[in-house]
Amino acid sequence: MSLPARVSLLVVAFLAVVAIGAFVVLHYFLSGPTTIDYASGVTPNTGAVVHVVMQEDPQNTVSTKPDWVSYFIQDPKTKAWVHTTLFRVPAGSRIDMTIYGFDGCTPLRNPVWGQVTGTIGNVEYVNGKPYHQINSWSGCNVGHTFSIPGINLNVPMATPGLIQSAKPGLCATSPCQPGNPKQVPYRVMTFSFNTPHATGEYFWQCRVPCGGGFVTGFGGPMQTIGFMTGNMDVVS
């Protein structure tokens, strides 16, 4: 092989390695779920009310892991459902949260997380009815939780409580569309909590080993941002 050919080959090989490295960095390390912004246009530390809307689905049909349970967050501007678990809220504000629960039930590993804590009044409303706790071991009652340990927030997510043979069954295409419960069964959970004045990222998680757990711990969607855990970014 001639010298120019060898040099060209070396240059091409070097560029190929650089390109592969750049792809790995961009694709795996710098990419990730988008952050839904609920903070823009809201003055922090004024007690302003921000309405955050989410849903939890039995599956997601929008990712490479379609059988993983997943949360979705609604973009406040476009009202589109986004497959992410990252959202940004203003500090010192009141969050009015609405979560549509489309998923079926799974018992909590520790039933103590069936109690509602950290919300205003330590209460959540399921289809408008107030609850201070839900017993996930006494029936098909709880599908997930929405928990932010950093502010001691824990809210069990109620389920439609269906039997497998029910018609219609659980929502099968994500993101599910809240509408007529007789067509697609779901529960609506509403609750309010105050964001801290201290800015920072507060991780949130589901405490139910929901379809992605192992006997000895969480796995799959339970430990993957964008599915059943994420961050609440409190900004000022």
Partner: protein, 314 residues
Amino acid sequence: MAAETPTPPPATRSGEPNHGLRIFIPWLVLSVAAVLIIWFVWYPHLPPGGMSSAAANQQFDIAVLAVIAAPVMILVLLYFGYALVVWRQKEGDEEDGPAIHGNTRIQATWIVVSTVIVLFLAVFGTVELFAAQGSGAGQGASPIFTSGVRNPLQVQVIGQQWKFTYRYPQYGGFETTDLVLPTNTWVEFHVTSIDVIHSFWAYQLGIKADANPGVDNIAYAKVYHTGTITVRCAELCGLWHGAMFDYGAAVSPAAFHAWAQATEVRLTSVTKMLPPYALTYDPTVVPQMSKAMVAAGLTGAPGLYYPPTDPEQP
């Protein structure tokens, strides 16, 4: 017969200063100063502090080790520095140094001193394990070194991804995320986990006990004074391990009793949801319940638990 050639006498050391004395005197002064500083200045501020019996014992142990180690370290550094300065090769000096000869007195001294130190540390360490009820590390379900108190306050620590919860069996078995302890009371921690391996590290208490599923790991501490207790998980346990921490409080016995009674009443309905108090909890209960729910025709999240052969198994 040829006359024996007399062996030349070894090089005389006349004119040499007494190196041993020149090293010994500053070593003695520095060692005494270091020991006094360690014991009277540093000791009260050594981690993890003196908030509990276990912590105070650890603090004492560290101080004793520091007092023993300081003269040794000073001697090594002093000798090192002295050799560098005094015995360094002078410019233009091409001669070999004098031959090195063994010194039985010095060799015997350091062997005896080293032996004494090592044997003392072995005995001291064993005694300190005993005196400190296992030094806060947890001794499993059958502890050898107990507090000797007949009815200590029992607090069950339950590790779970990613939060510690605490059950108080002597107060109806309520479970809470708040760790509250009384002062001047022996506490018997029962540390366990309901999922993966965690480690209950209550820093100011000097407690660092593994939390393993299916294991009741017992550790003891007596809290000496009120204050804040920092609790961290010290075993990598998943995505949010780094955020698995909280803060407890040590309060007066009267305040603790009032808190425990009020919390027991407040959480009565929640306690009814809990499984009966047990020293360990079977992590397979939930998948068994899930299977039962599915068998009963109830909907559940798809997949439930991944089997060991599942490709998503980490």
